[in-house]
Structures are given as structure tokens and as C-alpha cells.
Symmetry: C2
Subunit: 350 residues, 2 copies
């Protein structure tokens, strides 16, 4: 298609912590976004809501988005379970009838909806379900460990702490140091940005590792460093299986631990099931122990997300995380990425 001009659907959920996909597209590809649809914030700008995205407007209706020249509707929230809100089905039909393509990272495949599929066909529009897995994935066998490229995986203390964002901020810096670097997307937002990848959380469970292996091997071609996007957390009650399948399938030599400085509990679950996060040093021990059961791996740095702290608190949080973990630490979105770039560039396999 022509260059995408996205209307991002984030109705009821546009915000710094709630609309992960929307925010990443606005952060990394703002030129492709014409508006955000969220009735509760209509009339404001992305900058007002996120502190990023400049004057991208927030609108209340599909018509306004179409009038602004959208040629694509991108679903920009990731609700738990990934289900499509019923109300949106009508909006998507309206969008297709207006000539827009649809880009979705939901677990519910838009293209499997007979009405929407027929509307897309009738109006010559594409529906891209980015989480739809490829056929014939293998079971992983540890083959990823054979790449000459250094494999670096981001791992996290929770979902939605900045594992993808941290890596995307490192690519240019590594290239500037002369390292041929590829980013390997393992989730729907990374796939939107990078243009290829597999959403490892959407494959049949037996093939999580196999999906990770396939894309790690692909990303390692003609590369010195392959940055594999992490998912979930090793102690997340809902998603740890995806986290470990990805870890054992991609066989990282090195890991970067990602954390949001102000977060103290895992996930959004009901209070009695909340899980208090252990210290970063305990996460380092957990990840190195369980990774090492298949392939030896070291945590070599901390990427700290400090978006909700003032500058002085953010710097203090980085210093405290470095002290507690004994590892280099920075917020690669806000501060200099050099500590993490240096940790990767100087890493040597044992």
C-alpha cells in the first residue's frame, strides 16, 4: 500500500501505561500517525496524554479520522486476553467501507470475522492480523546457540516495562560502533515497527521455543549482534510460559533486565493475588539460573524505565539499581544509552 497514515484505535485506554502499542508507534513512527481515536480524551493531543507525539490529535469518531486522511486503522491497545471489544466491530466495518486497511495485534483475528472479511474484500482493503502465526513451526532444539552473532535478549520484571523500547533505542548506537545489528520482533508492536517477526505469545504453546528459534536464526544472518525482543516476566503468573519458551528458544548469550522503577507489584490482577517484585539482584539470579539450564547466559545491564519520575529521582533510581544489582544501568529512553551499548560491545562469550 501507499505509506501508511494510521488512525490509531485506543478508545477508553489511551494513556502512558495502558495503550502500549499505540504509544510505541507514536514514539517510533510518528510520521505515520494522523490521529488517535479515544472518546475520553478527544480534543487533546498525543503530547498532552503521553508527553510524546507532538500535535497528533485525539478524535472521538471514525469519521474525523477518515477526514484527516487516514488510510489505515491500527488497533493500538492490548487488552488482557487480546479480545476485540464488540463496539469496535462496527467502527472497523466503517473504516473498511471508507477504504482503510486494518492492522491488528489482537489474539482475536479480525480477518476471521466474516462480516469484516467480506467488507475488506468488497472495498479492496487488507486486514493484517500480526499475531497470526506462520504454519509449520518447529519444536526448538537449541539450534539458536549456533549463531556467530551475539544474541542479546531483553528480560523483564513484569509486562509492559519497556523491553522492546529499550532495544530499539540501542540499535543505532550499536551500528555507530561498527556492529551489524538486527532487532528481532517477538510481539505485535515490534512487528508493526520492524516489518517482520512472530508474535511468540500467539503460537500454539508447544511451538513458543520453535518460533523464537526461527526468528533468532533469521535475525542472526549477516549480523554481529541480534537483539531479541523479550516478553513477559519469569515470575509473571500469567505469562511466564511465554517468557521461558522465548528464553530457551533464542538461547541468549547475554540478557538486559528491564524494570519500571516505580513499579512494585506484578501485573494488574486482583489484590490478593498480586505478587510483590523481588529485588533486581534476585531477578538476575532467577534469569541466569533458568537460562543456564539450556545455555549459559549473563545479565549484563539494567534498562530502567523512569518515565513517571522527575529528573533527580530518575537519576537516583538508576544509581540505586546499579548499586543493588552490581550492573551498569541507564534509562535508554531518557538518558545516555552508553552504559548498555558498552556492556554489549565489550561482552565476550565464556
Amino acid at each position: 500500500m501507499s505509506a501508511p497514515r494510521h488512525l490509531i484505535l485506543a478508545d477508553g485506554d489511551f494513556g502512558p501505561l495502558t495503550s502500549k502499542t499505540a504509544n510505541s508507534i507514536i514514539r517510533f513512527q510518528p510520521d505515520r500517525v494522523v490521529a488517535v481515536l479515544d472518546r475520553q480524551h478527544a480534543g487533546k493531543t498525543a503530547q498532552d496524554i503521553l508527553g510524546a507525539g507532538g500535535d497528533i490529535p485525539v478524535v472521538a469518531t471514525m469519521q474525523e479520522g477518515l477526514a484527516l486522511g487516514a488510510n489505515s486503522v491500527l488497533i493500538g491497545i492490548a487488552p488482557i486476553g487480546g479480545q476485540l471489544p464488540d463496539e469496535w466491530r462496527g467502527w472497523l466495518r466503517q473504516a473498511l467501507e471508507g477504504g482503510c486497511h486494518i492492522v491488528s495485534g489482537l489474539h482475536t483475528f479480525i480477518g476471521d470475522d466474516p462480516v469484516l472479511a467480506e467488507a475488506a474484500r468488497a472495498h479492496g482493503c487488507r486486514i493484517e492480523d500480526l499475531r497470526r502465526p506462520p504454519a509449520d513451526l518447529p519444536v526448538s532444539s537449541g539450534r539458536a546457540k549456533t549463531t556467530t552473532a551475539l544474541r542479546v535478549l531483553t528480560v523483564g520484571t513484569d509486562c509492559n516495562v519497556g523491553k522492546m523500547t529499550a532495544q530499539l533505542r540501542l540499535v543505532d548506537g550499536l551500528k555507530a560502533r561498527g556492529l551489524r545489528t538486527n532487532f528481532v520482533a517477538t510481539g505485535q508492536t515490534g512487528i508493526m515497527i520492524e516489518g517482520w517477526g512472530i508474535a511468540v505469545d500467539a503460537v500454539v504453546a508447544d511451538f513458543i521455543g520453535g518460533a523464537a528459534e526461527v526468528i533468532t536464526l533469521r535475525g542472526a544472518v549477516d549480523a554481529d549482534v541480534v537483539l531479541v525482543e523479550g516478553q513477559g516476566s519469569i515470575n509473571h503468573p500469567g505469562y511466564s510460559g511465554v517468557t521461558l519458551g522465548l528464553l530457551h528458544g533464542s538461547c541468549p548469550d547475554a540478557m538486559i533486565l528491564c524494570h519500571q522503577a516505580s513499579r512494585k507489584f506484578i501485573g494488574d490482577y486482583r489484590p490478593e493475588a498480586w505478587l510483590a517484585m523481588p529485588p533486581l539482584s534476585e531477578y538476575v539470579r532467577l534469569y541466569e539460573t533458568i537460562a543456564g539450564a539450556v545455555h549459559p547466559s549473563k545479565v549484563i545491564g539494567i534498562a530502567l524505565n523512569t518515565f513517571d519520575l522527575d529528573e533527580a529521582s530518575a537519576r537516583a533510581a538508576c544509581e540505586e539499581a546499579a548499586r543493588e544489582s552490581g550492573l551498569p544501568c541507564t534509562d535508554p529512553v531518557r538518558f545516555d544509552s552508553a552504559p548498555l551499548l558498552e556492556a554489549i560491545a565489550s561482552f565476550r562469550r565464556p
Copy 2:
């Protein structure tokens, strides 16, 4: 349907280590099996091949099985990746045309094959794809930890070491001690035997834990002990994601570690990717560490599979495993289950 009289398809793979599903049905429900189809062993009996199953014949053709009165064809091998061998498609059509139902645990759903689905419809037969996941699974949140029933999960040093078999051998012994005990099936063979459950390796990856949570909660109703069938191994390069999702979704209070005494390497992969198994004590440490990241859990005993050892070697292997791990150990198929029954019955939550 009337009581099932299965012809078990295990062509080319009938053997003690290769046809896991076939062997378990023959072991636990021999009265439901009329024959096994495997051309390479035709003319022999199940007893000849497995050392179990008595005079259940091995036949070379679908016709022979139908002539013996089969009213169901049960797919009895679990090839890596779960794909349906092409040749079998013709046999299954022949079976449906002969009035047989089909029971399958493959990842490839037989009912999705248009030709076979039509043949089933035309002949009034059912196709049961036991790995097809239910709709609308939740993301797990740690709710399983709220059951009053004691939750016991089998965990393993590899696939196919006897995690399901060990538990099925414990159910009656626990009931005899006055403990209301339910077995929770998490794989296709367990579902065939128990009649309900979810194949957690076949759900979309984000919902492994949620599937485990749903069935653990169901199994805990009106029970004192719920025995959750384990899957894979925490250091299996292909399946560890399923193992951990199941572990964190089911929140076991106690674990029984299952191992095949003569096995030294994980899986069937190409030699350079083989993984040497660490000692049992290291598995105990791995499982307790990673389980404890969500809910505290102890390994309370070892179930040792000694099927390929002579009696003296088998007893010596149990003693050595108990010494190395510091835990009670038995082969619950071959010897007295009492050490494991006692470990469960005497366990108290911390």
C-alpha cells in the same frame, strides 16, 4: 457411543519409548483395545512389544482391525510437532467409512480436514480432537493457590518419563487413605483416560497458565488432593515454556520429580544440541526456585521409571536416587507406591 473398542494406530512407532499414548491406553484401559495397527510388528502381541497388554494383537491393515470389532480408531503416537502422516489420512477415511469414530491427540485437528469431516458426517461418526482448546481461556492470575485441596504437580527431567503414569498409580492409594483425590489431565492421553481436561501444550501460548488454572480449580472441587499432570521439563529446549506455564498456572504446594533412570540426555535432537541432564538434586533446586517465584513449593519425592532395568538394578537405582536427592523414591509402576503416598499424605503447607 457404545463402550469404545479401539483400534490403536501406531504404525512404524509401536514400542516402549515411541508410542506414549498407545502404551498408556493399553496399560490403563486394556479392555477397550481390540488391536494395534503397526505394519512392522504385525503378528506379534502388545505383550511382546511392551511387556504389557497381554494378547492384544498387532495387525497390519485397517480391515483386520475392523474385522476384530473396532468401533473407534485412536491415534496412538505423538510424533514431534504432532503432524498427521499423509498415509494415515487414507486409513482414517477408510475407518470412518467403516463406521468408526476417531479419537486424536495430534496438534493437527482431524476434524478440520474437509474430506474426513465430510466422511464423518456422512457415516454418522464423531471425530474427537482432544487437543482442541476451549474458547475464552483466561490469563492466569495465581487463583489456583486459593484451593483448600492440596495441589500436587508431577515435574520431570524430560518428556516421556512417566509423569502421567506415576500420578495415575497414586490415585487409588490416596483414596484408600481416606483422601478425596482427583487427577487433572493436561495432555491428550490423560484426557482419553480421565474423560476431561485441557491439553495445555495446544492452547495459544498466552493462555497456558490460564488453562492450567481453570482445570486445577475444577479438579479441586470436593477434593482433599488434586494431582495435576505435569508436562515436559524445565530445561527442555523445546517444551520448557509449557512446563513453566503449567507450573505457575497450577500453583502446586508440592511436586513429585519424575525421571527415567537410564536416561542421560534431554530429548531426541541432533547430537550437537543434546543436553546432558544434571543430577536430580539440581532439578529439585531448579523447580523449587522457579516455582517459588510465584508460589512456594517443595519437591517431596522421586518417581523413578525403571522399565528397562532388571529388578536388582531397578532397586539400586531407586536407592541411589533417594540418596542423591535426599527424598523418598520408588518406581510406582513396578514397586510399592507407599513412599510417595506417604510423602503426599504427610505433607503440610508451610
